[in-house]
Structures are given as structure tokens and as C-alpha cells.
């Protein structure tokens, strides 16, 4: 048995001494390999008598298991060490910048604000209507109660095209109101639409661009009155600006296509030079509105004694400027990547009333 003990001691010592996977493998082969010391010893069992073989076999198997166990434990430990060493070599400078974000596109503030407006008015039952940018005189002026010599035409700096064979001239719509006309000519009331879109005026300075966007609203039924107009706009501005209270003020005005007519102001404060929409000491004009003029209804084949309703119009850029603090109208159309990335919206920001219009 001394021999077994010395083989055991030797094997365990060489396992313990192994400091590489390769050395450990040599130790394993030396002890448990086909020609290993323990294997050789076990080969002697066949020559023993059954009684002695039983006792010696049990002792040898216990040594064999012990050595195998030791090898396994040493292997795990050596592998862990080797992995640690590899990982130490694989060190990267994680402060290096990541690959550039090539998916950082933006949605233009005009599109975003028009989607916000559509979301709000959809809640009030308005459809979104559209019409052509190039219009004829009838839809842009005549049907809207602006006859040829009316001084109100001077309020519109109209872009015209050349004279046609019949002497008439097409034009770029000066407002989205022609969509009102097309809608009323196209379907029977009740009507609730908003008409957002491009509009054009022959005007260009600090606060005017030759193209801009308007959103027009139209409600036609049998009972809608000017109080509904005020209520509708009050709900709209409160929701749009996402503040608790935005006072709305109507100022008497004149538009050929509405009567009575009102310019719409919203409350704001300018304390400390900062413009804040909401209850305050100042007022800001946001658009025009009024009850649809009987002549407009008649031009669309509707009997003014039966049908009535309101219309309003607002500048989309102006609303965007007020809500998002954009200082200059002209920059909306510059296509300056820096501006677009700064004032634009990430595509995930889909305005909803459930989730809030703005992040």
C-alpha cells in the first residue's frame, strides 16, 4: 500500500505544481493515462486473489477519483486564469465615441405642427380637406365674396399667371379658403373641415415670405353660432399650447367672406422679455375668423336661411414660432441642416392627445 500512497502523493503534487493547461495535461497523462502510474498499478489487480483484489481495487479507485477530481479542479482554475489573462489583453478604450448615428433624421416643424393641429381638430370631429395650390379667380376670390373691384383684393398681394385664352388669369391661392368653397360645392352639410396647406402672397420682408402655410377651419350646420367659434378656438389654443388656461379675445374686424368677423388674440405675458402663452397682461394675434358670409353660402348653393356656420384661419408658421420659440419666419424655408436638426422633431415624436402633443 505504500506504493499506492506514494503514487497518490506524486500525482497530487504534480497536479498542484502544474501552472499551465499543458503541464496539467502532462500530469494527467502521467497519472491517469494509459501508461500512467495509477493505470499501471490498477493493471496489477488481475494478478491478485479475489479477496485482496477487492480491497486493493477500492483503495486504488479512491485514489484515482481523488486525482481526477484534483485535475478537474486545477483545470477550472487554470482556465479561469487563462481567461482573465486574455480579457486583460483584450482591453478597449470604452471612452472612444460610438459609430455615428446615421438615423437621426427630423420632421420639419411645419409638418409637426400641422399634425398636432389635425390631432386636436379630429377630436372635435373635423375632417382634413385639401385643394390645389394653383387656383382660379372664382374659388380664391369671387365665391368668397371678393368681387373684382373690391378694395379687399388689395389686402391680398396675389401671384398671377399669364392671361389665358378666355382672358382670365389663374393665381396661386392667397389663403386656404378656396378649399372651403370646394368642400361646400362637393358635399352637403353638416360640414366640419380643417384645410391646412401652402398659401402664397407676393410679399417678402422680415415678417413675410412669398409662401407660407395656413390652416383654415370651416363648420356648416343649422345651429352653429359665434359662441361656438369662440369655444372651438378656446379649446384649440388651450390644447395646442399645452397650458392650463389660454384666454381668447375677439376683436371686431373685416373679412369679405365672414360676417360678423373677428380677429383672434390669445393671452400671453412678456415679463422679463420672455414670451409665455397663457394668462397674462398682453395679447397676441393668431388669426382671423367669423361667421360664414351669406354670399359665400349662396355661391356654394347653400341657402343662408337654412345653413350657417363659422370659419377661421391661422398661420401655421406663426403658431409654430409661438409654441416652440422659433424667432424668424424666413428660416423655415432655408433648408439649413443646422436649423432643421435643431428645430425639427425626431420621428418618434408622433403627436397624440393621449400621450401629449409634445414630449
Amino acid at each position: 500500500m505504500d506504493e499506492l500512497e506514494s503514487i497518490r502523493a506524486e500525482a497530487l503534487a504534480s497536479v498542484a505544481a502544474a501552472d499551465t493547461i499543458e503541464a496539467l495535461e502532462s500530469a494527467r497523462v502521467a497519472a491517469l493515462g494509459k501508461k500512467g502510474s495509477i493505470s499501471a498499478l490498477m493493471g496489477s489487480l488481475g494478478k491478485m486473489d479475489p479477496e485482496a483484489r477487492k480491497a486493493a481495487g477500492a483503495a486504488m479507485n479512491a485514489v484515482k477519483d481523488e486525482v481526477a477530481e484534483a485535475i478537474n479542479a486545477a483545470k477550472i482554475s487554470l482556465e479561469a486564469k487563462a481567461l482573465d489573462q486574455r480579457l486583460a489583453r483584450e482591453k478597449l478604450d470604452v471612452t472612444l465615441p460610438v459609430r455615428p448615428d446615421t438615423l437621426a433624421g427630423r420632421v420639419h416643424p411645419i409638418s409637426q405642427v400641422m399634425e398636432e393641429m389635425a390631432a386636436i381638430f379630429a377630436q372635435m370631429g373635423f375632417d382634413v380637406a385639401e385643394g390645389p395650390d394653383i387656383e382660379d379667380d372664382f374659388h380664391n376670390f369671387t365665391a368668397l365674396n371678393i368681387p373684382a373691384e373690391h378694395p379687399a383684393r388689395q389686402m391680398h398681394d396675389t401671384f398671377y399667371f399669364g392671361e389665358r385664352d378666355d382672358g382670365s388669369r389663374h393665381l396661386l391661392r392667397t389663403h386656404t379658403s378656396p378649399v372651403q368653397i370646394r368642400t361646400m360645392l362637393g358635399k352637403k352639410p353638416p360640414i366640419r373641415i380643417i384645410a391646412p396647406g401652402r398659401t402664397y402672397r407676393c410679399d417678402s420682408d422680415m415678417t413675410h415670405t412669398p409662401m407660407f402655410h395656413q390652416i383654415e377651419g370651416l363648420v356648416i350646420d343649422k345651429t352653429t353660432n359665434m359662441g361656438h367659434l369662440k369655444g372651438c378656438l378656446l379649446e384649440f389654443v388651450t390644447t395646442f399650447f399645452e397650458v392650463d388656461e389660454v384666454p381668447v379675445r375677439f376683436r371686431p374686424s373685416f373679412f369679405p367672406f365672414t360676417e360678423p368677423s373677428a380677429e383672434v388674440d390669445i393671452g400671453c405675458s412678456r415679463e422679463g422679455g420672455e414670451l409665455k402663452i397663457g394668462k397674462g397682461a398682453s395679447w397676441l394675434e393668431i388669426g382671423g375668423s367669423g361667421m360664414v358670409h351669406p354670399n359665400v353660402l349662396k355661391a356654394c348653393g347653400l341657402d343662408p336661411d337654412e345653413w350657417q356656420g363659422f370659419a377661421f384661419g391661422m398661420g401655421v408658421e406663426r403658431m409654430a414660432m409661438l409654441k416652440y420659440g422659433i424667432p424668424d419666419l424666413r428660416t423655415f424655408f432655408d433648408s439649413d441642416m443646422r436649423w432643421l436638426k435643431h428645430y425639427g422633431f425626431v420621428p418618434l415624436d408622433v403627436p397624440t392627445l393621449a400621450g401629449g402633443l409634445t414630449r
Binding site: 433624421g105 409638418s111 379630429a122 401652402r198 359665434m226 375677439f250 433648408s335 420621428p347
Partner: protein, 681 residues
């Protein structure tokens, strides 16, 4: 440290304005100077009556602000018969041009400087005092909205001043120093020598009053608004008189206006006045309008009781009487804008106060419904898809320089604006791309060379309403991404544009595979690096590298790749009976991939090869992709090697080697048939 003119307080521009020595330092200028406060009022075009101070005062009084002083008119007794008479000479269809003409002759007047009070008032509203007679006409224009004209009677030829239509070929040297050619649509005031003034617009130089004037003829007339506006517009003359006549002066305030003006002329200029001379008659301005008092609440949304309605209308100058269940209202002569019941409703709720209008929420359905049209939804999806691919949305003008329009298939004469804001914006855009390219150039000039832009908006195919298409157009230029330590920067190529386009089509709910790909893209694309997607013979989209010649003309460095997707050309989405998605088919068996490489003519399209391979066994082949493309000496001139990977997905059993081999054979046969090539060994 400004001159009086710089401050807008006078004409003096000879140096820095000086205050009186005793002016306290630190006090407000407005308290130091004895200035009349000036209130600027913007008058809407319908309120001709408020183009004079008295009209504004009347409206304020009706609202309860102050009391309107009565206008005391004391007729001036004529000292002699006017040596000049007035006459109206119009054809029957133009009698409305000037229905009433009142005149008066003055002699022995002195046309010197106006008294200080008159000069101060005119200066305060920005008018330059000229001479007493001219100042008096200006004063009446702004005080009572009653434009007048004064002729130097010594320069009037003959003894009659006639209001008539101008004759073609007549000319007039006007007071502004310009010579105007007149036509038959214009009304003139003429003497024996010809036109002396443009009625309601501007006087003539010849008979204008000067400091030497001692004999004056005063004109107080009513001119038709539309004719006055037409004349002013045709001759491009803006004047205070035109501004009032085209909006409508008070037709019942001619004789009284003449008397008041006479009194002031005599007071300031001395001399004596003749009898009035009058031609024509006051036009019939009276109209009765029935008002149903309940309409005020029905339209205005605010209840105003009947006595208050009557009080408001009376305060505005209306004559109100009970009439059946309602009221009969005759608006005053100065309110030609009130013509119907709704006008009366407006006046009542306006004077009652818009602040009293209730804010009533619109009644609405208890649950709102989606309201966007299919086209609007598509545009919204495409917008967010393109933005999420890294393109930045922009909005550009609908017009552009015609030279650029021509590069993109537009620029026809009918698409030109008659009055563009500048020659740079004179033509409707035939494509969105030129604006995006120009924007790319501007960004490059600012140091931003890697650009990804898109716009969803109209392009104009013709000059009629509706001849426009909604286009989603996008463009990339420069590098796909900036230089980076880990990846090489790659220059954009046609496949970036194609990928954007296919993503947009998918976002719009259409299947990009359902279109045919052609190579006949429009001329503004690189002829060898561009394509079109078609549905039948209808072009749905085009994409490619932009033509270097076009970029050169736009002064932009390439390569620039772009696409144009015509949103309305996409097939409409099918209405589905249910929102349920088709049942998913998941196989329990592993898919396997087989690779094939072919050598073929370089002209064979990859699309044809892929379609052929995919069609070889529709049940088994779920995907085919190109993983290698080689053109070079090894495969021969004009040839290419195309390597494809085919995914086989069995659904009911594992494939045997024989079955796999059979599918492989079918794939090879199909590809060879369509490509005329050979399997690469």
C-alpha cells in the same frame, strides 16, 4: 441725439434736435414737448366712414365712449353768382360715375401759410403743410372723410367745369408731376381745354392752386367707388382721395361738406364766396333692412334684448322702427357697408362687445373617428419613415428660377408667374429635386457637405388647378456618415437612394416587389445609374445618381443621389374586412442555404436573375439574395459573375439530398435560361 425728422416729429433734418434750455433733464420727451398724442388706427376696407376722425368718434360714442358733438353747419351766403357752372356729361350706362357735383367760386382769397393749429394737426398725422387751400382740403379728408378739390379759377378755361368720362388719347399732367394717358373707363373733371383733374384720384398741375391764387373753384363731388378704384389701379396712383372714394364717401354729405369747407376757406383765406352751383342729385342710398331680433342670438350666440338692439343701431345713426315681429332699419348714408340683416347683427354684437360672446364648446361625437384620408395617412407614414432613416425634412418654395425648372423638364411659359417676387422665383417647380439640390449647395457653402434631405410637397405638371402631384422626394450627398475611427467613410451611391425609396414605398403600405424596374429614368438622372419603378406604364417613382451636368448647372458638387416617389401613383390600399393579420406559418424544420455563382453578360439585370431563381420552386424557396458581384479579367470582357444565396424552407419534412439537388438543378436551369450564362465552376 436725433434730428426732428429722424424722430418722426418734423421735417427738420439740419442737425441734432435741440430742446428748450429749461427742459428738465431726465424727464420723458413726451412730457417735455407739447405734443398732441397720435393714435394710429388700422381701418378695415369696409369702414369708409371711419376714414375721418368724426366717423371714429361716432363709433366710439356708440360704444359708450364719450358723446358725439353735433356738427353745426351754417350755410355761407353767396355774395355773387358763380362765374363757373358745373355740368355732368355721361352716357346713360355711366351716370353712376358722378351723380352729384357741388361747386363754389371764391374771389379775393389769399393762399398763404395755414394758421399754426392747422399746420400742427396735419404735421401730427404725417402730412406736410403746403398752402392754406391745399391744407384745408387735406384737413377735410382726414377730419370728415370728405375729399375736396380746389382749382385755381383763373386757370380754368371757359365757364363750365364738367364731370365726364375721359376720351381715349387725352392726357393729364397731375399734381404729382407725372403725365398720365387717360382712357374711356376713367372719369375726369374737364374744362373747355380738356381734363383738369382725375375724378376722385388726383388734381391736375395746370389748374392747381399756388401762392398766387386769388380766385378759387371748390369741387365737392361723389364719385363711383369701382370706377375710382379702376382708374387708380390702372394709373397706379395711390392718394388719400382715391382711398376714400373707392371705399365710398358719404353720398349725403356734399352740400353740408361744401358749406363747412366754404366757411373755413373764408375764415383762413379771406375773400368772398359765390352761390353754390350744383349738378345732378343725391344718389339714392336709403335702404330698409328687416331685422329679426332673434337672429342676433342665433348667429352671434349672445342674447341682446330688443331695446338694446334698437339703442345700438340708433347710436350708429340708423333709423329704426318696429315692423311686424321685428325691426325695420334704415342705415345712415355713411354706412354703405350695411346692406343686409347679418350686417346689422354684426353691428349689434360688435357694439354690445365681443367680450360678451360666450365660449360654447362645439357639440361633438362622443368618440372621435380617424379623419385623415388614405393619401394623408400615407404621406404621414412616409414622412416619419424617411426621417427615421436619417433624412431631414425640409420645406422649400413651390417656385424656382425658370432656368432650374428647365433642367428638370419644366419651365413652360404657362408655368411662369406674371408677377414673381424675384427672377429667382419666377416659375412653378416641375420637381422637388432642384430645390433640394440647391439647398445641398447652400449647406455645403456653410461647411455641411454630408446632406440628407427630403420634402413631401407638390410638383406642378400644368397650369390648371389640380395639375399637381404630391411627391416625396429625397436626396443624399457627400458621405453616408462622417469619418470614424472604426469604419471607413463611404460616399453615397445610387443604392442609398434606392433603399430610401423602397423604405418609403413599404411605409406607404405598398409592396416594392410589385413594381417593374426600368432604366429609363428622366434626363436629370445619370443615364447609367438610375431607375424607375413602374406599374404598367405608369411611373410610380424614379431614383438614381443625379446627372453630373445638372449638378454642374446648379453649381453643386456630386455625387448626389436622389429619389422621387409619386404618392398618388401608388396603388390604393385594399380595404380589408378585418384587421386580423394573416396566420403566421412557422416551420418546424430548419431552413437551409445553397449558394450558386453564374457568369453572364454584364447587361443581364440582377433583378431578372433573382426573379428567375425565386420562381424555380415557389413552395420551397423563401429568399434569394446576391452576395457577390465580380466584373474583371477572370470572367472575361463584358461579363460578370453573380453569386446568389438561396434559402430553402421545407414545411412538412426534412429534405433529402436528392430533393435538394433537384431544387438546385431547377434553380440553375431557370437562371441560365434567363441570363444565357453559365454556372461558374
Amino acid at each position: 441725439m436725433c434730428s426732428w425728422r429722424e424722430l418722426g416729429l418734423g421735417e427738420d433734418h439740419d442737425g441734432i434736435a435741440e430742446l428748450e434750455v429749461q427742459a428738465p433733464i431726465g424727464a420723458k420727451l413726451v412730457d417735455t414737448l407739447s405734443l398732441d398724442p397720435v393714435i394710429e388706427i388700422s381701418i378695415t376696407p369696409n369702414r369708409a366712414d371711419c376714414l375721418g376722425v368724426r366717423g371714429v368718434a361716432r363709433d366710439l360714442a356708440a360704444s359708450g365712449l364719450g358723446r358725439l358733438k353735433p356738427l353745426a353747419v351754417a350755410p355761407v351766403k353767396g355774395a355773387y353768382a358763380s362765374p363757373i357752372t358745373v355740368a355732368l356729361d355721361f352716357p346713360a350706362d355711366a351716370e353712376s360715375a358722378c351723380p352729384l357735383f357741388v361747386g363754389r367760386h371764391f374771389r379775393g382769397v389769399t393762399n398763404g401759410e395755414s394758421p399754426q393749429w392747422l399746420k400742427d394737426r396735419l404735421t401730427a398725422i404725417g402730412l406736410r403743410p403746403i398752402s392754406a387751400l391745399v391744407d384745408i382740403t387735406n384737413f377735410f379728408t382726414f377730419d370728415l372723410a370728405r375729399p375736396l378739390h380746389v382749382f385755381d379759377a383763373a386757370h380754368v378755361k371757359g365757364d363750365t367745369i364738367t364731370a365726364r368720362l375721359a376720351r381715349d388719347g387725352e392726357t393729364l399732367a397731375a399734381l404729382n408731376g407725372k403725365e398720365y394717358a387717360l382712357s374711356e373707363v376713367m372719369t375726369v373733371i374737364a374744362d373747355a381745354g380738356g381734363p383738369e383733374a382725375l375724378a376722385g384720384v388726383m388734381g391736375g398741375e395746370h389748374s392747381g392752386c399756388t401762392e398766387a391764387t386769388t380766385e378759387v373753384f371748390l369741387e365737392v363731388a361723389f364719385f363711383d367707388p369701382i370706377r375710382t378704384a379702376t382708374t387708380g389701379r390702372k394709373l397706379d396712383i395711390l392718394s388719400d382721395a382715391r382711398f376714400r372714394f373707392e371705399r365710398g364717401v358719404d353720398p349725403a354729405f356734399l352740400v353740408d361738406g361744401a358749406e363747412l369747407a366754404s366757411a373755413m376757406i373764408l375764415e383762413i383765406c379771406g375773400g368772398e364766396a359765390s352761390d353754390l352751383v350744383i349738378a345732378g342729385a343725391e344718389p339714392d342710398w336709403r335702404q330698409s333692412i328687416a331685422l329679426r331680433p332673434e337672429r342676433v342670438e342665433a348667429l352671434g350666440g349672445v342674447a341682446v334684448d330688443n331695446p338694446r338692439q334698437q339703442a345700438i343701431l340708433s347710436a350708429l345713426g340708423c333709423t329704426v322702427s318696429e315692423h311686424g315681429d321685428g325691426l325695420l332699419v334704415v342705415p345712415p348714408s355713411w354706412r354703405a357697408d350695411i346692406t343686409a340683416e347679418h350686417d346689422l347683427v354684426e353691428e349689434i354684437i360688435r357694439i354690445n362687445g365681443y367680450d360678451l360672446l360666450p365660449a360654447t364648446p362645439l357639440p361633438r361625437p362622443s368618440m372621435s373617428k380617424p379623419v385623415l384620408t388614405p393619401g394623408q395617412r400615407r404621406a404621414a407614414w412616409v414622412r416619419r419613415q424617411l426621417a427615421s432613416r436619417g433624412l431631414v425634412e425640409t420645406v422649400t418654395w413651390s417656385f424656382l428660377p425658370s432656368a432650374q425648372a428647365k433642367l428638370f423638364g419644366g419651365g413652360a411659359a404657362a408655368m411662369h408667374l406674371a408677377n414673381p417676387i424675384s427672377s429667382d422665383l419666377d416659375c412653378m417647380r416641375p420637381s422637388v429635386l432642384p430645390n433640394l439640390v440647391a439647398a445641398t449647395g447652400r449647406n455645403a457653402d456653410r461647411g455641411c457637405k454630408d446632406v440628407g434631405l427630403f420634402e413631401i410637397g407638390p410638383q406642378f405638371d400644368g397650369p390648371e388647378p389640380g395639375q399637381q402631384r404630391n411627391v416625396a422626394a429625397g436626396l443624399r450627398a457627400g458621405k453616408v456618415a462622417p469619418r470614424h475611427w472604426a469604419d471607413k467613410a463611404r460616399t453615397v451611391d445610387v443604392f442609398d437612394a434606392k433603399a430610401d425609396l423602397l423604405a418609403a414605398i413599404t411605409a406607404a403600405g405598398a409592396n416594392p416587389d410589385s413594381f417593374q424596374i426600368g432604366t429609363d429614368a428622366p434626363a436629370w438622372y445619370h443615364p447609367g445609374r438610375s431607375g424607375v419603378l413602374k406599374l404598367g406604364n405608369k411611373t410610380v417613382a424614379s431614383f438614381g445618381e443625379l446627372h453630373p451636368g445638372v449638378l454642374n448647372a446648379l453649381d453643386v458638387k456630386g455625387p448626389v443621389v436622389a429619389f422621387e416617389l409619386f404618392l398618388e401613383a401608388l396603388p390604393p390600399q385594399k380595404a380589408k374586412a378585418t384587421k386580423a393579420k394573416p396566420l403566421v406559418k412557422l416551420s418546424a424544420f430548419q431552413p437551409l442555404e445553397r449558394d450558386f455563382a453564374f457568369v453572364m453578360d454584364a447587361s443581364v439585370s440582377a433583378d431578372a436573375v433573382l426573379r428567375a431563381a425565386k420562381g424555380a420552386d415557389k413552395a420551397l424557396i423563401t429568399d434569394v439574395s446576391v452576395f457577390d458581384l465580380y466584373e474583371g479579367a477572370n470572367v472575361g470582357e463584358g461579363k460578370k459573375s453573380l453569386a446568389i444565396s438561396v434559402t430553402l424552407q421545407p414545411f412538412d419534412k426534412t429534405l433529402t439530398d436528392e430533393e435538394i439537388e433537384a431544387v438546385g438543378k431547377k434553380i440553375v436551369e431557370a437562371v441560365l435560361k434567363v441570363s444565357g450564362g453559365a454556372l461558374r465552376g
